[in-house]
């Protein structure tokens, strides 16, 4: 499989220069590297500029509601664990409306990869504050003089605390590295979060390519991702230096591993006919 196999004939509608192109190309590259069977792959999106990626990638896709990609992905994975399930969406989608789902999906550790296009702003609705926006940022909803006064969510730090078993960060300005993070996340058996730093050229004048370029630092090769404490302290870094790479990798049983019903194979393959409920009726006599 080549990166082209995942292409559809549709033309992406992102603004020229948008970081989403880098994510799109990296995802296709990751699919090719993994030689994923695209018929057995499901991409689950939320709603946002970011989430439109599902419109352009040729696997099975379900474009859900704003903020709801993770519960839909959970349903897909629980009933057919043979599928490769990837959820994808924006920082607003995942950390705003979808925050509750993020918390609980991380706790659950299902084998789902979750790629967050973190442009630190609401793109599709044309420039409002996001839960990851920088303090002081002026947006349509946090105009001057005050600007944004809330502390941003640190996605990596949260994901580690909540129990995601693979946590990484990447930057769209370094596509080979981003594709590699995606590959590792998809390979990982468990809930794998990649916080993808993505410039929005139309509505985020702060976190630009140049801004990221100055700050992004690849995590040192001697970092041991199984060291949770070290991962946590690395995750705390955000500012002049922003680490990218794999923070945490833990091998843990997934939620689905605990279910005896799945031992015989996915629920999608279980017979729906020939069911006998006589025993249930007898129990009520």
């Amino acid at each position: 499989m080549s990166a082209q196999d995942a292409n559809l004939a549709y033309v992406p509608t992102w603004c020229p220069g948008c970081g989403n192109y880098g994510i799109f190309n990296s995802l296709k590259k990751a699919f090719a590297t993994l030689e994923l069977d695209l018929e057995q792959t499901v991409l689950v999106n939320g709603i946002g500029c970011s989430s439109k990626i599902g419109q352009y990638i040729n696997c099975y896709r379900i474009e859900t509601l704003h903020g709801r990609s993770l519960p839909v992905a959970t349903g897909v994975k629980l009933v057919n664990h043979n599928l490769t399930v990837i959820a994808e969406g924006g920082d607003g989608d995942g950390m705003g409306l979808g925050m509750g789902h993020f918390v609980h999906t991380a706790r659950r550790n299902l084998d789902i990869s979750y790629f967050i296009h973190n442009n630190q702003v609401y793109g599709l609705t044309k420039g409002q504050t996001s839960p990851t926006s920088e303090p002081g940022m002026f947006t349509k909803f946090t105009p001057p003089p005050l600007g944004n006064v809330e502390r941003p969510v640190n996605i990596v730090d949260m994901a580690i605390s909540l129990g995601a078993s693979f946590v990484a960060r990447a930057y769209t300005g370094n596509m080979p590295h981003l594709a590699d993070m995606m590959v590792q996340a998809i390979r990982h058996r468990g809930f794998a979060v990649v916080d993808i730093l993505q410039p929005c050229v139309s509505f985020n004048a702060i976190n630009t390519y140049a801004w990221y370029q100055q700050r992004v630092r690849t995590i040192a090769a001697d970092h041991d991702p199984s060291d949770r404490e070290r991962a946590k302290s690395l995750a705390g870094l955000w500012g002049d230096e922003i680490p990218v790479g794999v923070f945490l990798r833990e091998e843990r049983p997934t939620f689905a591993d605990s279910l005896a019903q799945l031992k015989e194979g996915p629920l999608t393959e279980q017979p729906v006919t020939g069911i006998n409920i006589t025993g249930l009726m007898e129990e009520l006599t």
Binding site: E39, Y60, G75, L78, N80, L267, P271
Partner: protein, 581 residues
């Protein structure tokens, strides 16, 4: 001879009042009597008054009556609240510690005060009080004690059974000399086959398992939760996975994921939870993902009355979510319909690729009745248009949302070769692609929008054609036609029988499917009715409004009840007489 007998068991939560009631009901059911059991309880864990009404008859029962022949109470409040329900010559069984106000009793009521409440610390002592209560009940009513013993022997482990049996017997012996050689007013004879004692939620859960449902998700909310509890307990043996979700929004979205991936899935909630699911309901409809959702109504609005009944969510579930789309709303009227309509709901959801809402209420969900085993022969699973690899190979390029005559297009499940597509919450054309703002659709958006919406509604006539959406009971024409939906069916049918016995000709029109609305069938019945009476458990006559909207027919008379309790046959009979007077 009286044709029915009702006993109300009353006590604080934690004293086993409800299990006392179901023990009596099971014992009766195993011996050719029919029962109807209604539990009333406040939303409290400890304390508060719980009551269990057991109504027994030689004929099948579909409702309760407020009037009771026997009141057995372990608490003062249980008596205070129910004195007036006790009929002349009735029986009052009360713990010895309670103060009976005989001035509030009907003439001829016999009072038995006995040591029922078990001393001793802990919940075990408390809950055994119900065995003492049952012993007293058998002694004073003539209900055969050995039938109760037989049920207890099945329900308990031997040591526990023995303790309860001793208490049952000893209280019986103490009470017997005080009782005037009672004979129970209904005949017992051993049934050839034991029937079930089953409530609406059990029946729905069984219907789901019979239909091959393999996934359930939800968040607890009375009175919807017991479907989830049932499936959590019994589902695994049928290969079903139940997932408790972080909230109802997550629950419905998990179900949509499961449905998209190709598994039959069910959720169950009450109005508050359903409110949270509303946005995703439209998503399921537009993405054409099969979905089955139970909304067991309780008192509202808002948190409302968690443990009380109402029929006030009809307009809400019919209209919930923005935009216009087709949904199926079915309101089973009894336990039988809970089972078979749930089974059918899964077929409908898959055949027509849309959400099906099963609308019940606390009264139906939670009340039990004696019921023979469901007949499952001939129940056929219909999965609708599923595209397999061979079909897909012959139909490339595959269009998930192909515009077809009946609005239904072939569904490819993830993992099927040749079926890759996008399912989406955006308005879309045949290929599922977003029709708004994309270059490829720029010129054709209005046209695609119309086709996309028409596609959803093109299913409607086919659905109506295959459904028995209304049911008429009683004579084809009558002096008065009662118009009902949902659990009101039971009380209405009994009221019809009572009216007939009083020489009044009544029939009952039950609207089983509220969406798509069976306008032609309703018009057909109502246009030949002489007089009509709408009987609904809400304040604003929601079914009445719906009928008016779809048929232009205004139902002349209304009996609306929104006091948090269900209709009884006698109440409806009074109203019938009033209307025809």
């Amino acid at each position: 001879m009286k044709s029915d007998f009702s006993c109300l068991f009353a006590g604080e939560a934690g004293y086993g009042v409800m299990s006392a009631g179901s023990t009596v009901a099971k014992a009766a059911g195993r011996n050719n009597l029919w029962t109807f059991v209604v539990n009333e309880y406040p939303s409290l864990i400890k304390g508060g008054l719980n009551t269990c009404l057991v109504r027994l008859a030689a004929e099948p029962l579909q409702a309760h009556e407020e009037a009771i022949d026997c009141l057995a109470s372990l608490s003062q409040e249980g008596m205070e609240q129910n004195y007036s329900r006790l009929q002349p010559n009735g029986l009052l069984i009360a713990d010895a510690s309670l103060a009976v106000d005989s001035t509030r009793l009907a003439p001829g009521v016999r009072v038995y005060q006995l040591p029922l409440l078990q001393k001793g610390s802990g919940d075990v002592a408390k809950i055994m009080s119900n065995s003492a209560m049952l012993g007293a009940f058998c002694a004073v009513s003539g209900f055969p004690i050995e039938l109760i013993e037989a049920v207890l022997a099945d329900e308990f482990k031997p040591e526990v059974f023995e303790k309860n049996r001793v208490l049952l017997r000893s209280t019986y012996e103490v009470a017997l000399p005080q009782a005037a050689a009672a004979t129970f007013p209904l005949p017992f004879s051993q049934a050839a086959a034991r029937p079930m004692l089953i409530n609406g939620n059990d029946a729905i859960s069984m219907g789901a398992l019979q239909a091959g449902c393999k996934f359930a998700a939800g968040y607890p909310m009375t009175p919807g939760s017991s479907v989830l509890t049932y499936l959590a307990d019994n589902g695994p043996a049928f290969g079903l996975v139940f997932k408790q979700a972080e909230d109802e929004i997550a629950a419905i979205n998990m179900l949509i994921g499961a449905g998209f991936a190709g598994v039959r899935a069910i959720g169950s909630t009450s109005g508050g939870g359903f409110s949270l699911m509303v946005e995703a309901l439209g998503f399921a409809a537009l993405a054409e993902v099969p979905l089955v959702m139970v909304n067991a109504q309780r008192g509202g609005p808002s948190t409302g009355q968690p443990t009380r009944t109402a029929q006030a969510d009809l307009a809400f579930v019919l209209n919930a979510s923005q935009g216009e789309f087709l949904r199926i709303v079915v309101a089973p009227g009894d336990i039988e319909e809970c089972f078979y309509e749930t089974f059918r709901a899964f077929n409908l959801a898959e055949k027509y690729q849309l959400p099906v809402i099963i609308l019940t209420d606390k009264y139906l969900a939670d009340s039990s009745a004696t019921h023979p085993f469901f007949k499952t022969e001939g129940l056929a699973i219909e999965r609708g248009k599923l595209a397999d690899a061979a079909w897909l190979a012959a139909h490339q390029p595959y269009k998930r949302y192909e515009f077809t005559a009946g609005g239904v297009s072939a569904r490819a499940l993830p993992g099927t070769a040749g079926g890759r597509h996008i399912a989406t919450s955006y308005t879309h054309g045949e290929d599922g692609f977003y029709s708004s703002g994309n270059y490829e659709y720029a010129g054709s958006e209005p046209e695609v929008t119309v086709k996309a919406l028409d596609k959803l509604f093109d299913k409607e006539p086919h659905i109506l054609a295959e459904l028995e959406a209304v049911r008429l009971y009683g004579p084809e024409t009558a002096e008065l036609t009662l118009v009902v939906w949902g659990s009101t069916k039971g009380a209405a049918l009994e009221a019809m029988t009572l009216a007939q016995a009083a020489g009044i000709s009544v029939n009952v029109l039950q609207v089983v499917y509220l969406s798509p609305f069976p306008a032609a069938a309703v018009t057909e019945v109502l246009s030949r009715s002489r007089q009509t009476l709408l009987v609904e458990g809400n304040k604003t006559a929601q079914l009445g409004g719906l009928i008016r909207m779809h048929t232009g027919i205004q139902i002349a008379n209304r009996y609306l009840k929104y006091d948090s309790r269900a209709f009884t046959p006698s109440q409806i009979l009074l109203k019938i007489k009033e209307v025809l007077a």
